[in-house]
């Protein structure tokens, strides 16, 4: 087929997959989503960590945290409900037990952080400042388990701003707030992140959800409610990334139910600069690496020499 838009031939090996997230340059736009890839060593026997654009580790707060009782997860059609409760080894435990392993790789490490209070967020950000081997901080304001009083940092715009201001004042590390999906206007949160001096945003976090065992009439999760992830939430995530991209010039890490390269391309087309693979890693640990190769083939097939030429190219 001949037309003036007919793509020129590009060899997959020659496709430039590198992207920039503010001051960070990544070799490719495929990250792991926080909470789905542990702290790095868990998957290292099965996955070449050098093939990843960046590793985003499971959320860290100031002190070791026990998390929720079990059952903590429940599989639903095309999705996974979880309420792990942010179990983590704390700042010192992470630096002592996991960071030395991660430093052996050239892949940038992004640490997902959270706190019980605004002061704790800032303290965690401060403690990671200047620590060798940490490329950026993703700020988890949207986990359903975190709240100040009755206000969730991820869904209350004023609380969201105060968390970001406190973190921004505490560190020069690149900051990437992770946005909650259950807000009326995602654009307002994207703009607030930009105003607060964030370097990028990531979305979406899990969608609040619940399931019940009708025989026992008990909730499926010990925490009663949890966060839904996996392919079930992908259209929600694509729509919110599209809206956020129109509201801010910050680069966006899009995520939610990415199982293959085609899904990643969807996020890039609606405006994401990078993507993260989450729940899919539990099923197929090599999904992120496969998405990288699949994106390369897709871009070559469309005559695009750089992944950056795909970002925000939704046709109307």
């Amino acid at each position: 087929m001949k037309s003036k838009t007919s793509p020129s031939r590009v060899e997959p090996a020659n496709v430039d997959l590198s992207v920039r997230l503010g001051p960070l340059t990544l070799r490719n736009p495929v990250l792991t989503a926080s909470g789905t890839f542990g702290y790095g060593p868990e998957y290292a026997e099965l996955v070449d960590l050098e093939q990843l654009g960046a590793i985003v580790v499971k959320g860290i707060c100031l002190k070791p945290t026990r998390g929720n009782p079990t059952p903590r997860t429940y599989e639903v059609a095309s999705g996974l409900l979880n309420a792990i409760g942010l179990q983590n080894p704390g700042v010192d435990g992470f630096i002592r037990d996991y960071l030395p392993f991660l430093r052996k790789f050239s892949t940038p490490v992004i640490v997902n952080i959270w706190g019980h209070t605004i002061e704790e967020y800032a303290e965690v950000a401060r403690r990671f400042s200047g620590v060798e081997g940490i490329a950026a901080l993703e700020i988890n304001v949207s986990c359903p388990n975190i709240k100040e009083g009755s206000k969730l940092f991820g869904t209350d715009l004023d609380a969201f701003r105060r968390v970001l201001d406190a973190c921004r004042a505490a560190t020069r590390l690149p900051l990437i707030p992770k946005l909650a999906p259950n807000v009326a206007d995602i654009g307002a949160f994207a703009r607030a992140a930009e105003d607060a001096g964030a370097d990028a945003i990531s979305l979406i976090n899990s969608v609040p959800g619940m399931a019940v065992d009708i025989e026992t009439r008990r909730p499926r999760l010990a925490n009663i409610t949890g966060g839904l992830t996996g392919p079930a939430i992908r259209p929600i995530a694509v729509k919110l990334v599209w809206e956020a991209a129109r509201a801010t010039r910050l680069p966006i890490i899009g995520m939610g139910g990415i199982m293959e390269a085609a899904h990643a391309a969807e996020f890039l087309i609606v405006g994401a600069t990078a993507v993260a693979v989450g729940t899919a890693s539990f099923a197929e640990p090599r999904t992120a690496a496969r998405v990288v190769e699949g994106l390369r083939d897709y871009l070559a097939r469309h005559g695009l020499a750089s992944v950056r030429a795909l970002i925000g190219t939704l046709q109307r």
Partner: protein, 263 residues
């Protein structure tokens, strides 16, 4: 730990609605240790995301075998597998059973298809011991000939009395333990429901014997990342901490398990 696409070597239906699935995998067969498990991607349905863990029942001649009973949509889809079909398998996973200490008489205690997790241990033990199998009825007592062929004495209990002693597996176990002529010292290796494991832990403590229990939990990733299958255990300093059943387990020394926190 490896991930590979393994071809189905065969599948046969066993009594009681159980299935024996054989996978062709010289690598997994060579790596498998007693008490470890495989994390298997289900062939269907398409909206099923997570893998399912299965104890490695047997590993020999380039094949690994698992024994399962279809309970949900995912495991029902496995019953249609035929020779030549391919399954993605991660394994062998987890910390299995240590070898029985020299000079002890090994005692196996299995509830339902828990004995699947014990066969490799029985096959590799320095000497055969005594195995106690319990189930709801005769149809739930599996693989007795396989264990007897290894020289083990198998003692059976069923709750409906249709085979062996009537009652739980602890009924004949308690009788055996109280016999003055029984072998000493002993060491327990158990797999089954949590209530049974706890009962074995109590008998072991009373007998001054060590017990190793293999815990059956719903799992997510199978490799220690998702923190779904956590269990409270006592660290060496006595503090209660989380252990991941898929990584630090599935086998735990019974004395380290915090039983009161098992729902």
């Amino acid at each position: 730990m490896i991930i590979e696409d393994a071809a189905v070597a065969g599948q046969e239906r066993r009594a009681g609605g159980y299935y024996l699935l054989s996978l062709r995998s010289p690598k997994l067969a060579a790596l498998a240790r007693p008490g470890q498990f495989l994390h298997v991607r289900l062939p269907a349905p398409a909206d099923t995301l997570l893998r399912r863990p299965f104890s490695i029942f047997q590993a020999a001649e380039g094949e690994v075998r698992i024994l399962y009973k279809p309970v949900g949509r995912g495991t029902h889809s496995m019953t249609a597998l035929q020779a030549g079909d391919v399954l993605s398998v991660i394994g062998p996973l987890g910390n299995g059973f240590p070898p029985p200490a020299p000079g002890v008489h090994p005692v196996l205690v299995a509830g339902g298809y828990g004995m699947a997790a014990l066969y490799l241990l029985a096959a590799s033990a320095p000497r055969p011991g005594t195995a106690f199998f319990g189930g709801a009825g005769a149809a739930d007592i599996l693989c007795v000939p396989e264990f007897e062929a290894l020289g083990w004495k198998v003692i059976i209990a069923t709750e409906d009395g249709s085979l062996g002693a009537r009652g739980r597996v602890t009924t004949p176990l308690d009788a055996w333990l109280s016999a003055s002529a029984r072998p000493r010292p002993i060491e327990f290796f158990a797999c089954g429901p949590n209530g049974m494991l706890k009962a074995v832990a109590e008998r072991a403590a009373a007998a001054g014997a060590r017990a190793w229990v293999s815990m059956d939990r719903s799992m997510g990733c199978g490799v220690g990342a998702c923190l779904t299958c956590v269990q409270r255990v006592r660290a060496p300093n006595g503090e209660a901490v989380w252990a991941r059943v898929c990584k630090e387990g599935p086998v735990f020394e019974a004395g380290s398990v915090v039983w009161e926190e098992i729902e």
